[in-house]
Amino acid sequence: MKKQIYLLASVALMMGSAFAFVQSLDWKIAEGYAVKFEAGDPSGEFSGLKGIIKFDEKNLAASQFSVTIEVASINTGNGMKNTHAKSANWFDAEKYPTIAFTSSAISKTATGFEAKGTLEMHGVKKEIVLPFTFSNSTFSANMEVNRMDFNIDDGKHPKMSPTIKVSITVPVTK
């Protein structure tokens, strides 16, 4: 009888730990996240970050990011520039309301991690590699995006840098 109880308990423990393992991959985006961009003038940030974050540094094969940002949430600190950025000349927020990133593979690097995946912006999909770190329940990433790759240009601002620096900080909770 004792043997059967031990067997049952160990099976329950194994099942419980397996369930806990599956659960531990999921993270929720917490308040205080920042998706900032810098191109000299304009610079600013996006809010409206949503999506699924599955991450465990010990189980990268099962980890995955599928996140979106609302284009209409752009804030450059200037109302006129915000309106202009959302217009058909730039992001065309009405036609392309979100910027999406979906990872296909996450791997470890010397400095942290990198997520290979598809960035969809302004109706253009492009394979990118997003280097990031994860510490104290916060994801941090810095990358450069060439807006010309996504046809984001009205042809009237030749002095504006084609490369935009993007810095992302996303605190997460279980």
Binding site: P42, G44, T76, G77, G79, M80, T83
Partner: protein, 119 residues
């Protein structure tokens, strides 16, 4: 005097705008900033008035009114073009608060100017 009057009008307008939109721009627009800005503008206007009346005598006041009005109108671009801190909510509504305020010093000046004229 014109500076104090303009600052008072700007503060009343600021309160009305906050009541209407419930958007708080007090980190940029507040009693202190409005009073100091209106006083500085009015002092500079006084200096310009003295300079122009010295240069053009009786026509100086006419030239001054023209320069002050056109200058105020040109300054409308400042609140429209300004980049606010990213923590400031609804930057789209900021010009609605500040563009009218640009004209307050010149309006205040022209309102009280006749009181200081010698017959």
């Amino acid at each position: 005097m014109a500076g104090i009057l303009a600052a008072l009008a700007a503060n009343i307008y600021n309160q009305i705008y906050f009541f209407a939109t419930e958007i708080d721009y007090s980190n940029i627009i507040n009693w202190g900033s409005l009073l100091s800005l209106n006083l500085i503008i009015s002092l500079l206007a006084g200096l310009l008035y003295w300079l122009l009346t010295t240069l053009f005598k009786s026509r100086g006041a006419i030239v001054f009114n023209f320069v002050y009005s056109v200058g105020s109108f040109a300054c409308v671009i400042i609140p429209i073009a300004i980049t606010l801190p990213l923590t400031t909510p609804n930057p789209e509504l900021f010009p609605g608060l500040t563009v009218p305020m640009v004209f307050f010093p010149v309006i205040a000046w022209m309102t009280i100017d006749p009181l200081f004229k010698k017959n």
